[in-house]
Amino acid sequence: MTANAAPLPIERYPRRRARRARRVAAAVGPLFVFMLVAFNLPILLMLGWSFSNPTPTLNHYAYFFEVPIYLRVMANTLRIAAITVLCCVLLGYPLAYWLRGMAPRPRLFVLAMVVLPFWISILIRTYAWIVILGNNGLVNRGLLELGVISAPIGILYNELGVIVGTVNVLLPFFVLPLYASMARIDDRLMQAARSLGAPQRVIFWRVFFPLTTPALAASAILVFILTLGFYITPAVLGGGRVPMIANAIELLINELPRWELAAAISTLLMIAVIAFYLVARWVRRRGTA
């Protein structure tokens, strides 16, 4: 909106243009200033902190890559995120496909059940898994009674418990966009394949499935990103024994004050998240183009 912009037709009415600019500023300005001061600036300052000692340095980053414990936590986080994605695909793809084929009324009902957990606190949902997975919980007692096991098995306070929690929280994030894209697929494509004599299995794998892969990949990356930043689930269901990167950052801020290192790890996490997000967006754009 500078005065020497290209000679658009609007250029002839400088006063109207100034008025338009004022309107834009009045609407967008307050939130812009708020975000600048309260979000963008603090994150930039954090970036600066991660490089300061107080003289400019890369030591904090070097420390992260040299000390095995941090790399182990990072590897742990990536592994949990990958397994969570896998579980979401295995459960979420059939669920979305099932939803697509449903009659409108039952579909609305099932969709409501998928959406409802969004509105209920993550803490509450995570807490409930303690009841279900604990030594005296539903799963263990059920298995004992069936005689599958002779003593309670440890599902809680280990990686398995954390994964159950992350999948439970993130499954709706996976299913809803995937279902939205499946619902957009034109049924006539499958009908055409059928009329040409393709068996049902071939129709699914050669026509339907390829059409869903962009959304599938985008949803998978989204779940992956969101798992990377998880804090509550590993803290509660991991019982402190399954540290993920967010828990390590919390430790560095609150327990052993090493703010610069926390800032460096946060920066790395942020770069990873933004990079994966851009990949997801690119995949989705390519899919819809």
């Binding site: 909106m1 309107r23 834009v24 009045a26 609407a27 967008v28 708020f34 309260a38 963008n40 603090p42 994150i43 459960l91 979420g92 059939p94 669920l95 496909y97 099932w98 939803l99 084929g101 409108p104 059940m113 998928v114 409802l116 957990p117 509105w119 606190s121 803490l123 509450i124 807490y127 409930a128 303690i130 279900i132 005296n136 919980g137 929280v169 499954l171 994030f173 299913v175 279902y179 939205a180 619902a183 049924d187 009908q191 049902q200 299995r201 129709i203 699914f204 990103i225 969101l226 930043g229 804090y231 509550i232 402190g240 967010a246 919390e250 942020m270 998240v273 933004i274 997000y277 989705r284």
Partner: protein, 293 residues
């Protein structure tokens, strides 16, 4: 927590129903169909299980967490209402959620209006900036704000937490209101403008009354997100507590069934409020349900 990019999910509410001939059985065989339905049912049960378990547990008379509860009582409700620290946490949660959701509603609705109704340089970047807190893990915002608040003395203050919560709730308002404003006929605004109405009049007297259901929906969404938030609160609220913060600190110490009583009340409150809004504004019911993707 972070929320996914809604651009991918938003259309689900407005999709035309697929034509009648498109049932599942036509595209896959019997075995596959059984597998799909089985996994789908399992997924839905898996999603709803925590909610379904917590409610009966809250009426348990025992300290031990066994399901189904061996005896029934209201002792955990009693232990919530007779503990001043829980009540103080509830008051803190309510105050912070109310303040930040109203701030988010104001800032977000105005910004959405600007984003939808005007084309300007940097518009896409601005929109990305506004919704970025959905993608960036809250722990990062918590670290950044912790360092800044420590310098300016906002740690442990209500103002600091309200600012932090506003950052994470505003994206929801921006998203819901962007869709709502884009769906509102711009010509009505143009008519008002041609009759000499000022921008402020158009916004307050035309847009706000017409979009009241979406505004209500996004306010509720912002309120719930703030009420549930725990990571920023853990970092920035000092010695003070909110309901989720007290829940997580109690959880890390021991199993306290009082939490099931609070959880049940929150679930009943949330579902009740959702149902009420859905009832009041049937038209926006879908966007309410879809809003939180």
């Amino acid at each position: 927590m972070a929320r996914p990019d809604p651009a991918s999910a938003a259309p689900s509410g407005s999709l035309p129903p697929s034509p009648a001939g498109s049932r599942l059985d036509r595209s896959v065989g019997r075995v596959e169909r059984g597998l799909v339905v089985g996994l789908g049912v399992f997924a839905v049960v898996f999603l709803m299980l925590p909610v379904a378990i917590v409610i009966p547990m809250s009426f348990s008379g025992e300290q031990l967490l066994t399901f189904p509860p061996p005896s029934l009582s209201l002792r955990w409700y009693d232990s919530f209402f007779s503990d001043p620290r829980w009540l103080e946490a509830l008051a803190n949660s309510a105050v912070v959620a109310l303040a930040s959701s109203l701030l988010a509603l104001t800032l977000g609705t105005l910004a959405a209006y600007g984003l939808v109704r005007h084309r300007f340089i940097g518009r896409a970047a601005l929109e990305a900036n506004f919704v970025a807190p959905l993608i960036i893990p809250p722990i990062i915002g918590a670290v950044a704000l912790y360092i800044v608040f420590a310098k300016v003395g906002l740690l442990g203050s209500y103002l600091g937490l309200v600012i932090a919560h506003t950052i994470i709730t505003t994206p929801y308002v921006v998203l819901v209101m962007t869709v709502a404003i884009a769906g509102f006929d711009e010509r009505i605004e143009q008519v008002a403008r041609s009759l000499g109405a000022k921008e402020r009049t158009i916004f307050c007297r035309i847009l706000v009354p017409n979009l009241s259901s979406s505004i209500l929906a996004s306010w509720m969404l912002a309120f719930v997100v703030s009420f549930d938030e725990v990571i920023l609160t853990l970092f920035l609220f000092g010695n003070r507590e909110t309901i989720p913060k007290r829940m997580i600190t109690r959880l890390e110490l021991q199993i306290d069934p009082t939490i099931t009583a609070i959880a049940t009340m929150l679930i009943v409150f949330t579902v009740g409020a959702l149902g009420l809004v859905y009832f009041l504004v049937r038209r926006s019911g879908r966007s309410l349900l879809d809003a939180r993707h």
